[in-house]
Amino acid sequence: MDISRRGFLKLSGLSVVAVATGLGLNPEVVEAKGYALKIEGSKKIPSICHFCSGGCGMLLYVKDGKLIHLEGDPDHPTNAGTLCPKAASLRSVAYSSARVTKPKRRAPGAKDWEEISWDEALDRVAKKAKEVRDASWKASESIVNAKTGQSEVFEVNRAEGIAFLGSAEVDNEESYLISKFCRVLGIPYNEHQARI
């Protein structure tokens, strides 16, 4: 007997029905009721998957501010409700105990982190950015003109000591602000994983 994968799934579905019916249950009703209970009273919010560049649509079911269920967005033209195993697992990121939930600092030479406030973290970084920018500032540089062999001085307006990696993992607006932040501070060394 030649059974395609889809046919096989249909067959196994039928056998579940057969067993359930044997127990005096109507599985369609049971399934529909169970599903309704889980998502009852929740709000459906569309979103976009965060793995490959497919940009598949996800539907998030949110109840009392909590993400209670996640599935493929049936209205999305690319994935029409389907999701791969990675996308389907994304609900678990929302409340993962492994998430970083507070700013942290590792002091030079320290063996562990210490928790710090957002304000202190930002202050430390802003001060360091100014310190390194000022110390590594290159206002001009001398370059040999390939045609004349003469060296000439050019204004370059560049902070040499800061690099910024990021990112294909953030939104367009964030990616753009990274770009703008760097160039406004005089940092040309902004790169990210598109190269690798």
Binding site: G161, Y176, V184, L185
Partner: protein
């Protein structure tokens, strides 16, 4: 793709794959890494399309193929060259398309040469090419001379024919391991099945011949007439959720947003910049400076051009090179957002060492990825590492408003669904707060270097609004303060009267937030979905679609009509947005003929010539250097794709043994203790690395998801049955895999997915390893990038992850 077609983006879309009559997948295991691609490829198959898969392994994608060819990693140009040769020799190309929409008829300079593996202009002292001879013969009007027929010996077409005449099916077999008869079968399928599409991903780009491999695809697709058509194209399956967007936004050292070249030291003024880059860049650069500096960028101060940092033209600061510069001590402060270099960079020993050279690393991520805690990697003494680390808790995708641009160039908006966990915040908030703090530290400064910070336009609200940022990308009419309604409004506005943070995004929020559109009807049935979100540029879904019409502007494929010239309305119209210079210019006008309007020649480039359009016929009276209109995109390692061996290779180049590898490739050597190079005597097997469906890239997210860890708990190595027998291991044994740079111990999978093959008459083995693991997370494991080599493509800077030499033994 940009040197071939003018834009470096996937030409078609996910939902367009269903329109193909043949699908060539080479350098992508999309069934695992872009599963949604298979959804649309299967639709094409159901309609009778042939699927061809080229891969070193029999992958999950290969299991759906009509034709599967196992290839030695890094030898794609050899078999593609043979197909190109066969198409040319047997006149199997689309003659009308080649004549009208490519540079086939243009005459190449007599100084252009190719001999024994080297193109003309090579400087062995610097390992770089001078590109002056890769040019056209120009007429008195400074335009390329056009031959009467393709057979003229000076044409691009004749040069192409001559170049690929060396690539027989038999030679390709000896190099790639694919049987000659199979390559011919593939060529015959592609010659007949129109349109055919190509899918590739990192399997093509992670080589020292990355750009040239894609150029080979471009040459083949242009000859077959497959670009600009529904069901055709070259689809670069981008690897990350917003890698299209982050590239558009220029998180790249040599660009500014919207693919503007970054200014260099010798650009004293905007005029100098335009001499190098063409007048076409004036408007977007001025609009960008207006977006960044508002009224502070004006005609009197050269539009604020001096505010921008200027790169030293000799600096290469591509991703891997950043770590070399860091190891040398240049950088004291590193920002690292959403990136896990300690797992993802090849020859990761360099990253481990370089991070210790910093004063401070600032990291923002969801989880404590390996890079965040490099100072406590097993075997490292934290007391020895003086780098201060500040870690910010980042909000996840559904905890923040914003947009992502997928591989189809669809800019898709999503609203925050829930609040960020704990004290986590969007990176937008972090960047906004940080900029404001830095600006406060500089308050009152009168130093010239601080002016750009103090004068920058930066107002996204007390709590920054992502929509306001997207509106800045869309752009404003600076005289009225109103959003630019469409890309056309940006294009017709006078210089300096508009701002846009990224000109190709103009129109995205001009008439409401079009990125949030959810219209999913598809009246044409071609999967265009024009009312779903917004595609750049100007909501065009299939790039270069002018090429889907004949010279009279009528669709050549009546089943797949994208656009056409409506002579009653005197307008280009259609199912898709027309990718034309001007919608009102008829198909027989100079503008209306251009199928590739982003190229200076207006046609697709079989030969990537050096060329600038619009140069004046006589020297200008003011004696200043002349400004042309549009320069062509160049490949730094040759105008025609040529096969070169990988940097670590088990054999020598059959075509030119004395120039075995890409002569312009960047082979790391600055740190000999770290950057070692192996020889086949010691490391006889070819290692290729890859991703798997259960984990994503460096695993920073997926290794913290228990469900995925249960599915795929740890890394492994897969080898052929022959190799298993040879080294005396069986499935489930622990084995040590070593390269010149390092070693890892993992479980062994003995499989039929890899087969022994013959290279130049010699039995050869490829072994495969996924790479998504590191020492941290819920599911740690050894990092495969302990083994890989950081040799780089000279143009794109992509490392050769896909090929290095290794040895294997029982652990």
């Amino acid at each position: 793709m940009s040197p071939s077609f003018g834009r470096g983006a996937m030409t078609n879309s996910w939902s367009d794959l269903q329109n193909a009559e043949a699908v060539l997948i080479g350098g992508s295991n999309c069934a695992e890494n872009h599963p949604i691609a298979m959804h649309w490829i299967n639709r094409a198959r159901e309609k009778g399309a042939k699927v061809i898969v080229i891969d070193p392994r029999f992958t999950r994608t290969a299991s759906k193929a009509d034709i599967f060819a196992q290839i030695r990693p890094g030898t794609d140009i050899a078999y593609l060259g043979a197909i190109i040769n066969y198409l040319l020799a047997n006149k199997l190309y689309d003659a009308q398309y080649v004549l009208n929409y490519t540079n086939a008829l243009l005459k190449v300079s007599p100084d252009f040469k190719f001999d024994a593996g080297l193109f003309s202009g090579f400087d062995p002292k610097t390992n770089k090419y001078g590109v002056d001879t890769w040019s056209y013969q120009l007429g008195p009007d400074k335009k390329p001379l056009k031959a009467e027929t393709l057979d003229d010996p000076d044409t691009v077409f004749s040069k192409l024919k001559e170049h690929y005449s060396r690539y027989s099916f038999e030679t390709a077999e000896k190099i790639s391991g694919i049987p000659a008869a199979k390559i011919k079968t593939i060529a015959d399928v592609l010659a007949k099945a129109k349109p055919a599409t190509i899918l590739y991903a990192l399997g093509m780009t992670q080589h020292t011949t990355a750009v040239q491999g894609i150029r080979a695809y471009a040459v083949m697709q242009l000859l077959l007439g497959n670009i600009g058509k529904a069901g055709g194209g070259i689809n670069a399956l981008r690897g990350e959720p917003n890698v299209q967007g982050s590239t558009d936004m220029a998180n790249l050292f040599n660009n500014l947003p919207g693919y503007l070249p970054a200014p260099i030291s010798t650009d004293k003024t905007l005029r100098d910049y335009l001499v190098r880059n063409g007048s076409i860049q004036e408007k977007p650069l001025v609009a960008l400076l207006k977006a960044w500096f508002g009224d502070q960028a004006n005609k009197d101060n050269d539009w604020g051009f001096a505010f921008l940092p200027k790169l030293n033209p000799a600096t290469n600061a591509t991703m891997v090179k950043v770590f070399e510069l860091m190891e040398k001590g240049q950088f004291k402060l590193l920002f690292n957002i959403g990136s896990n270099s300690l797992v993802s960079i090849p020859n990761r020993q360099l990253v481990r060492s370089a991070l210790t050279k910093l004063d401070m690393m600032v990291i923002s991520d969801l989880f404590e990825v390996e890079t965040a805690q490099f100072w406590r990697e097993p075997g490292v003494n934290p007391a020895d590492i003086k780098t201060e680390v500040i870690m910010f808790p980042a909000a996840f995708i559904y905890e923040k408003d914003g947009s992502l641009t997928n591989s189809s160039r669809w800019i898709q908006w999503k609203d925050a669904a829930i609040k960020p966990l704990g004290e986590a915040k969007p990176d937008l908030d972090m960047l906004d707060a940080l900029f404001k703090k830095v600006r406060r530290l500089y308050a009152g400064s009168t130093a010239a270097k601080d002016t750009p910070i103090l004068k920058a336009r930066w107002n996204y609200g007390e709590e920054p609004s992502a929509l306001k940022v997207l509106q800045e990308l869309n752009g404003y009419d600076e005289t009225t303060g109103k959003l630019l309604p469409t890309l056309a409004d940006y294009l017709k506005a006078p210089l300096g009267s508009v701002s846009t943070g990224c000109w190709i995004y103009a129109g995205v929020t001009g008439n409401g937030n079009l990125a949030a559109r959810r219209g999913n009807t598809d009246p044409s049935g071609l999967g265009l979905f024009n009312n779903w979100s917004f595609a750049w540029p100007g909501n065009i879904r299939i790039l270069y679609n002018r090429a889907s019409c004949d010279v009279n502007g009528q669709p050549v494929d009546s089943k797949r009509k994208l656009i056409w010239w409506d002579s009653a309305k005197n307008l280009w119209v259609g199912n898709d947005g027309p990718d034309v210079v001007d919608k009102t210019k008829a198909p027989d006008t100079p503008e209306g003929k251009q199928a590739f309007r982003m190229n200076p020649e207006g046609v697709g480039r079989l030969f990537a010539a050096k060329y600038m359009s619009g140069l004046p016929q006589t020297p200008p009276a003011d004696a200043l250097p002349v400004i042309g209109i549009r320069p062509a995109g160049l490949c730094v390692d040759g105008p025609l794709p040529e096969f070169y061996e990988p940097i670590e290779s088990p054999t020598v180049n059959l075509l030119h043994p004395k120039v075995s590898q890409n002569p312009a490739a960047l082979v790391p050597s600055a740190f000999p203790d770290i950057q070692k190079r192996g020889k086949p005597e010691n490391f006889p097997y070819v290692l290729t690395t890859y991703g798997i469906v259960e984990h994503f890239c460096a695993g920073g997210v997926t290794r913290n998801i228990p469900w995925l860890n249960e599915l795929m708990p740890e890394p492994f190595v897969e080898i052929s049955k022959n190799l298993a027998q040879k080294v005396g291991v069986k499935e489930g044994d622990k084995v040590e895999v070593s390269s010149a740079r390092g070693k890892v111990t993992v479980y062994c999978l003995v499989t039929d997915r890899l087969q022994t093959y013959q290279v130049n008459g010699k039995d050869t083995e490829t072994i495969g390893m996924p790479w998504s693991w590191g020492f941290a997370s819920l599911s740690p494991g050894p990092s495969t990038n302990e083994l890989t080599i950081a040799a780089l493509d000279p143009g794109a800077g992509t490392p050769e992850y896909k090929v290095c030499l290794v040895n294997i033994r029982r652990a």
